[in-house]
Each structure stands twice: as C-alpha cells, then as structure tokens.
Symmetry: C2
Subunit: 350 residues, 2 copies
DNA sequence: AATGAATGTGCACGCGCGTGCAAGCAATGC
DNA sequence: GCATTGCTTGCACGCGCGTGCACATTCATT
C-alpha cells in the first residue's frame, strides 16, 4: 500500500548520459499511479484526489521531475515561447528594452528567446524562420527591417509579428510606435526658445524608421520657422564613435552650429565629447546638444544630457498584453503609439 | 502525375485562427507523398529522391511550412535550446557578453533563451526549473549565485549547468572563471609603479565571487608590499550611482587616497565623476582610477579609463564549445580560466 | 533471362504530454 | 435495497516529428 511499483519499468532508454531528464512515466511508476494522474497533478484545474496528488509530488521531487513544456506545447499548441529579434544588444537602449521585456514576459508565464540579427537584411528571413520553427507565440522585432515580402510570408505561415518602431504603417503585423516627429518638434522648440539659431542634426547614413522620423521631423519643424539646419550623417550605425566624427565635421568648418539635435543618445554623447575635448567648446554656453532615448549614461555627471525618455515600461507592458491577448484572425492589426517625454538636464541652454 | 492529392485531407483542426502553423502532413498531402518523405527532405543526410525532394520543397514553400523544432526535439531528445540566466541585462558588461553569446550560439545552430533573475537568490530555483522544463541542452549562469543544493538538484535532474564566474570550485557543474586575483595584483603593481601609496578599493556590500576575488586580491597584494588600503563598499549592486557615493565618501575625509581600484567599470566611472565634478580633482595627476571589464564607455573621451579587458569572445567561444561537446556523464566537470588584459588609458599615472 | 545490389518510399512506432470517455467507487437520496 | 450522483482514475488517442524495417522499384551484373 505504501509504495508499489518501486522499480520503474519505464523505458529502455535509461542510460542516456547527457541530459537524462525524467519523464512523467517514471514518476507514475514510482508513485504507483497512472501517467495520467501525474499529468493531472501538474495541470492546474485538473481533477486529482489529494492523496494521489501528494504521492505524485513526492515521487516527482525525489526523481527531479520537470514537466516537459516542449511536449506540452505540442499538444496544447502553445509553446510559451516569445521570440525577440535584436541586432545590437550591446547598445544601452536596446539592452534596456530587452531587459524589461524579458522580465515582463517571464512574469506573464512566457519565456523570451533572443535572436540576434548579425548584419544585412538578408538574415532577417533566417531569423524569423527560426522563430517559426520554435512555434513562437509571437515574434517581437526590435531591430532590423524585414522586407515587406518577408513580413507577409511570416504572417501567412501563421506567425504572430509585433514590430516595434519598424516598417511603414501599411503592412499587416501589429505595430508599436513612438511619436518621434512630435518629439523632434519639441526639440526644435526648445532650441529656439533657448535662443539658438544655427541648428544641426546628426544622424546616420543607414536610417531606421525611428531615426528617419526624428531627423526629418526636426528638419521640417526647423524649416517651418525659417531655419535650414545642417545635416550630418556619419557611418552606418549610431555609435559613439560616429557621433564624435560627426561632431568633428560640424565644429571644424566656419558656420559652427549653436545647437545639435542627435537622433540618439550614444551619438549625442559622442558629439558632446568632441565639442568639449576636441574643440574646447562649453556646453551649453557655446553649444546645446539634445539626444534621444534617455539611456543611463545620459544622466552621468560628465554629460547631463537633455534628451527624450522612451516609456520603455509602458511599451513592454503593451507588448506583453498583445502577446497575452492573442490575435484574432480577421481583426485589423493593432497599432499603438507612445509619446516620449523631454528630460531636461544641462546640455541645452534655456 | 503533376500534382495529386491537391486538397489537403489533413486534419479537422484547420480553422485555428491564432498561430495556424502548417504541419508536415499537409505538405505531404499537397506534394502527393508520404509524411516520411517530407520529414526526410528536411533531415540532413536522409535518403530522398531528387524529384520528390523538389516537390516537397515546392509544396512547403507554397504552404509556408517550417519544421517544428519542438516536436523534432521531442524525438531526438535535443531541443537546441540553451538557457542563459542573467539578472542585470542593462549593465554594459552583461549585455556585451550576452550579445556575443547569443550570436555565437546561433551560429552553432542553437538558440538562446534568456531568463531574467529578478531579485533575491530564491527565484534562482524557479528560473533553473524553467530551463529544465524547456529541456535546455545547457544552462549558462551569468548572474546570481544558486545555492549548492540547487545546483546539485539541477545536475541530478539531468540538467547541464555552466557557471561563469560563479560559485566556488568544489561543486559539480562546469565552470568558466577569470583570473581576477592576478589582475588585481597587476593593478596594484601599476599603482605602486606610478608612485601611488594611499590606496583604496571600491566594491559593493553584496559581493559576487568575481567582485570578491578582485577586491580581496587587491587587498592582499597591497598588504604584501606593506600598504593597508581603504575599503569602501556602497550599495547592493555595482552601479554608477554607488560608485559616485563611494567616491564621495573617499574624497570627503582627511586621508584622501591617490589611487582607487574599482571592482567594476561602471563603479569606476562613478568614482571618476565624483572626483572630477564633485571634488575638482585632476585625474590622473591627483588621483589614479582603475576599473574592470573594459566596457565601451571606458574608452569615451570623458573618461579614458584604464581597466582590465575580459576576453569576452574567447569566453563565449569556450561556452559554445562546451555546449556542443555535450557532457560525458562520468567525466569530471570542466573548469576553464581566462586572463584579463590590462588596457592602459589615461586614468592612471605611470 | 535471372540474380544481386542499391536506392527510394511507406508503415508504424515512440518521443512526453493533455484530455475526452467510460469505468470504478463511494456517498447520497428515495 | 436500489437508483442516482459526484468524484477519481485508467485507457487510448493525438499533437508533429525522426527513423528502423520491410517492401517496391530500378539498374548493373552474371
């Protein structure tokens, strides 16, 4: 009565040295119940007698049993896996978003699978294919701009796609966006109010949607008040080094600007350092610099960069909610927009 | 002869709005072959006639089929999933390592599942449990210090554990370590050669193995040459803010140190900023500061921090190799050690 | 023409799990 | 005493896949 079926008549594949995970059948054998009972014990809401439940739990504990979520996902058709596509994890802003996202997904009972996008657009397809192979409940694209055909084929093959600050608005996937143009207008307004007239904008040669919106928004707003800003784009990615190079270019010639709007904090810090250390400019007396993202470094004493904060927590929360809701097949794709808030520090004259 | 079995008599579950992924059976029906043929087409090295192979590929393409790696993993007993346990993704060093790691894992045909460790040690168990549930081929622990009992129970339940700079050497899992003590000795030597005699070390109250080794190594080395360094530990985590606070404490009193060794770059930058901006000290004339990790920010113009570079690429490569090799059941756990290299910049007098 | 080898294909099983269905059992109502 | 109800439990099936085995087919060889 105590413990029958002591020796597990489980299977013949017992001696697998590597990854010898315990299966429910072995637990069942040890607990002297059927495998169904084990399964029910670990299924919330299933009907199991308190006695058997306890016996199963004891046996599971002793054997070190863990439900196989892969198999469970197979029958339930939901893996619990959410893929997150990123290219530059190292960048402070991306790692911030990624961190918050994984944490929240985890709290929601999901798990984040991070897919790195190495270089060109081409492997966007490979990465998304990977996501499909693991039957991701949703795929969140933080970096890279999958071509429209790729996006369509993903959607057709049953994948759930959530683009964050990616692509143009007319395609099919759910989208989360930032009011970049509005922020850029606010930036211009701040510069003008501070008395700056010689404006410049620093961006990169290869622009993503976000970056393009920011620079274009700034340029438009400037023109609307009769100012034609200088535009400097350096390098492919928004790095500190490219920011410094852009700054060097800006400050070398004659018409030195008195205010620079950077599409990105890291770039802005590069510009800032070039101004101070390479050209001996005083910020904000000689020069105002504004960034975007509000990365932690922007608050450091050496910089105190005025910038726009992305509501990362809200964005992550929205994404998780989208994932949890699921997607109704016929329904229109969701499109959410968030507003960055200006964080005043001391890199802009006011 | 062209295409028989046109309408897929697949299953009754066709109308699943959400995540309607295509299965091999439907592809088989469309291509007019058996499901085995489809399976073999996507299995490297399996025997398929060129003709059927093409037909299958066409059908798969049309239907948007992707092999279900969950199911494949179920029968092959290898999921391709590698879990990476991290707590502070936001920190530059962690995100650097994580980025390289995910990329290399991906190149090796694996996929990284990131598990965030929220706060206390307690949920280390929950997180590792999660890894087991997804039948991770290996679990790489970058943050958090799972208690020995947790580690043992993980190993017993068949999990493959790789600890990076974690735990003490006597437990069972594979380990990758850094020669922190050696680096600390080199740091001291550099200070002494630079003529510094009033030394200090900045660390945190809650130390991980790495941090403890660094501070202890420095202290020992200092005592070996007859110097008793001041020790300041601030806060729980190694953050910029805690570094700044530690710096404030160091520079406020009488016996101001002329050299500070920080267990961490981010902390060092906080100390540096406190020294320069809050106390008007000149670096390196009045004060030498050394950090650890060589994060990108350390190379920025405002800091130019002398620090130790972790061979992140090598570490990641070693981890991937460990994962690929598998673990022979009886064999001793692997233990690898790497050596950080001193990167000279201009925050230390020489 | 007959035989052997070689190649390709389908069948059926198992991987670990959830669950509908029916059978078992105890408790309750008449 | 019997019928009814409610709760457990085991059986059996399917989720999507890889693969051993047997069979069909083709081709070269004797």
């Amino acid at each position: 009565m105590t413990d029958l079926g002591r020796d597990a008549p489980a299977s013949r594949t017992v001696d697998r040295g590597a990854s010898a995970y315990v299966s429910a059948r072995e637990v069942a054998a040890r607990a002297g119940v059927s495998r169904s009972a084990v399964s029910r014990t670990f299924t919330p809401g299933a009907s199991v007698a308190e006695d058997t439940r306890r016996r199963v739990l004891v046996a599971a504990e002793e054997l070190g049993y863990h439900v196989n979520k892969l198999a469970r996902g197979l029958s339930l058709q939901q893996s619990g896996i959410v893929c997150v596509v990123v290219s530059d994890i190292m960048s402070p802003q991306m790692s911030r978003l990624l961190g918050i996202l994984t944490r929240r997904l985890q709290q929601a009972g999901r798990v984040a699978m991070v897919l790195s996008l190495s270089g060109p657009d081409d492997d966007a397809r490979l990465v998304l294919q990977r996501a499909a192979q693991y039957r991701a409940e949703a795929t969140i694209v933080l970096s890279g701009t999958p071509s429209r055909s790729i996006v369509r084929s993903c959607l057709e093959s049953g994948q759930r796609l959530i683009l964050i600050s990616r692509d143009d608005p007319e395609t099919g996937p759910d989208r989360i966006r930032l009011d970049n143009a509005g922020a850029a207008r606010a930036a211009l307004l701040a510069f003008v109010r501070g008395g700056c007239r010689h404006l410049a904008v620093v961006t990169t040669e290869k622009q993503t949607l976000s970056l393009a919106e920011r620079s274009a928004g700034f340029i438009e707003a400037a023109r609307a008040v009769g100012i034609e800003p200088r535009i400097v784009s350096r390098g492919v990615s928004t790095s500190y080094e490219n920011g410094r190079l852009a700054g060097t270019e800006l400050f070398t010639g004659e018409r030195r600007p008195d205010a620079v709007f950077c599409v990105n904090d890291v770039t802005a810090l590069g510009v800032l350092d070039a101004a101070r250390h390479d050209f001996g400019l005083r910020v904000p007396e000689d020069l105002s610099v504004m960034g975007f993202d509000n990365i932690p470094e922007a608050d450091w004493l050496s910089y105190r960069l005025t910038t726009f904060d992305q509501p990362v927590e809200d964005i992550a929360a929205a994404v998780v909610q989208l994932v949890e809701e699921g997607r109704d097949p016929g329904g229109d794709p969701v499109s959410l927009s968030f507003t960055p808030t200006l964080v005043w520090r001391s890199s802009v004259r006011c």
